[in-house]
C-alpha cells in the first residue's frame, strides 16, 4: 500500500471518529474495507487524486449530515408541544421587556413584571404541578426584575454627566438582556440540576426559542406600531459611528438577545421536561 493511500485511510479514520457513535459502531469497519478497495482501484486506474479528494470530501460532508439527521430525529422524538410553547413564551417575554416605553418608570416596571410573569408561566408549562409551578413563575419574575435593575441603572448612567462613548453605549445596551438571559438560565438551572444530553437540549431549545423570539418581535412591533419605533431613530440619525453603534445595539437587543435568552432557557426547559417524562415513564 502506498504512503498516500495510508494517509487518506488515516484521515478517513480520524473523520470516522467524529461520526455519531451509533453510526460508527455499525458502519465504520465496513466503510474502512470499502474505502481500501476503492483507493486500490484508483491506484490502478490513475484517478487517485480525484478519488482521494472525493472520498475525504464525502466523509466530511456525510459527517455533518449524520449529526444533523441525529439532531432532527432527537428533536422530533423528544420534543413535545409544551417545550415548544415554553420556549416561544420565553422568547416573547424577552421581547415584551424590550418594547419601547415612555420615560415613566412605572410603565417600564409594569412591562418587566408582565414579561416576568409570562416567562414564569412558560416555565411552568413544563411541569404543571402546584408548588413547583409557583416557583417557576417566581423564577421568571426574578430574572426579569434583574433585567429591570440593569435597565434602571442604564437610564441613570445615561442621565448623568458621564461621557457616553460608543463602547459604553453598547455595554449599557447589552447589559440588560444579558442579565435576563444569565439569571433566567441560572434560576432554571437551580430547579433542575440533572445534567444529561446538553447538546441535544441546547439545540432543542435553540430552534423553538429563536423562532419564538422572532415571532414575538414581529408581533410586538406590529402591536406597538413598528413604524413609530423606526421613525424615532430618524431625526437624530446623522450617519456617525456612534449612531450606527446605537442602532446596531437596538438590533442586537431586539432580535439577537431575545433569541439567545430563549435558547438558554429553552435548553433548560427541554432538559427539565426530559427528566420529568423519564420519571413518569419509569
Amino acid at each position: 500500500m502506498k504512503a498516500r493511500t495510508r494517509l487518506v485511510l488515516a484521515a478517513f479514520g480520524a473523520l470516522l471518529r467524529l461520526y455519531p457513535p451509533a453510526f460508527r459502531e455499525t458502519f465504520a469497519d465496513e466503510m474502512g474495507q470499502v474505502l481500501s478497495r476503492v483507493l486500490s482501484d484508483a491506484e490502478s486506474s490513475g484517478h487517485w487524486w480525484r478519488t482521494g479528494a472525493r472520498e475525504l470530501g464525502g466523509a466530511a460532508g456525510c459527517l455533518v449530515v449524520e449529526h444533523l439527521h441525529l439532531c432532527r430525529k432527537e428533536i422530533l422524538m423528544n420534543t413535545s408541544s409544551s417545550t415548544w410553547w415554553g420556549a416561544v413564551g420565553l422568547g416573547l417575554a424577552v421581547v415584551i421587556s424590550r418594547l419601547p416605553v415612555d420615560a415613566r418608570w412605572q410603565s417600564s416596571l409594569a412591562l418587566y413584571l408582565l414579561a416576568g410573569a409570562f416567562a414564569g408561566w412558560s416555565l411552568s408549562q413544563i411541569n404543571p404541578r402546584g408548588a413547583h409551578r409557583l416557583i417557576r413563575v417566581m423564577a421568571g419574575v426574578a430574572a426579569f426584575m434583574a433585567g429591570y435593575l440593569v435597565h434602571a441603572l442604564r437610564d441613570l448612567s445615561l442621565a448623568s454627566s458621564v461621557e457616553v462613548t460608543p463602547i459604553l453605549t453598547l455595554a449599557l445596551l447589552l447589559g440588560e438582556p444579558l442579565t435576563i438571559a444569565i439569571t433566567a438560565a441560572a434560576l432554571i438551572g437551580l430547579l433542575d440540576r440533572d445534567g444529561a444530553q446538553i447538546g441535544r437540549l441546547v439545540l432543542n431549545g435553540a430552534v423553538g426559542a429563536v423562532g419564538g423570539s422572532l415571532i414575538g418581535l414581529l408581533v410586538a412591533f406590529a402591536a406597538w406600531g413598528g413604524i413609530q419605533a423606526v421613525d424615532s431613530y430618524r431625526p437624530g440619525f446623522d450617519g456617525a459611528l456612534s449612531s450606527w453603534v446605537q442602532v446596531g445595539g437596538h438590533v442586537l437587543i431586539g432580535i439577537i438577545f431575545p433569541g439567545v435568552a430563549g435558547l438558554m432557557a429553552g435548553a433548560r426547559l427541554g432538559r427539565t421536561e426530559g427528566r420529568w417524562r423519564q420519571m413518569h415513564a419509569a
Partner: protein, 119 residues
C-alpha cells in the same frame, strides 16, 4: 399499489439507483457502489461516506435490511467478523415498483405529447 409506498415518491436519483441495485440480489457496500456507477452510466459516483449515509437512511425507513453474508447463498464463512450485505425488503420493493410506475407514466405522457407535435 399501497398508499404507503406512493407517499414516499418521488425518490432521489441516488435512492432509486441503490434500490434498483438491490432488486436482483443482496450486495455488499462495495458491490452497490460499483453497480450504481454502472447502472447510472457514471452519473452517480458515491463516495464511501455518502453511500453509507444513504444506506443508513434506507435501513431506518425499512426499505432495505442488513444481513450477514454467511446467510447469502454461495458464501463461505471467513475469519473475523462476518461481512454485511444489504437486501431489499418487501416495503422497499413496493416503493421501487411505485417509482418505476411513476416514471413510466411521465415518459408515456411526454411521448404522447412529442408524437402529437411531430404529426
Amino acid at each position: 399499489m399501497p398508499a404507503l409506498a406512493e407517499n414516499e415518491l418521488p425518490l432521489t436519483e441516488a435512492t432509486y439507483f441503490i434500490l434498483l441495485s438491490l432488486a436482483d440480489e443482496p450486495r455488499h457496500g462495495y458491490a452497490i457502489l460499483k453497480d450504481v456507477e454502472a447502472l447510472s452510466q457514471a452519473r452517480i459516483v458515491f463516495s464511501t461516506g455518502t453511500l453509507y449515509g444513504a444506506l443508513k437512511r434506507l435501513l431506518d425507513t425499512g426499505w432495505i435490511e442488513r444481513l450477514d453474508d454467511t446467510a447469502l447463498p454461495g458464501s463461505e464463512p471467513g475469519p473475523g467478523r462476518p461481512r454485511k450485505a444489504y437486501a431489499l425488503t418487501q416495503l422497499g420493493r413496493r416503493v421501487l415498483a411505485a417509482e418505476v410506475a411513476r416514471l413510466r407514466t411521465l415518459v408515456k405522457a411526454a411521448r404522447r405529447r412529442l408524437i402529437q407535435e411531430a404529426t
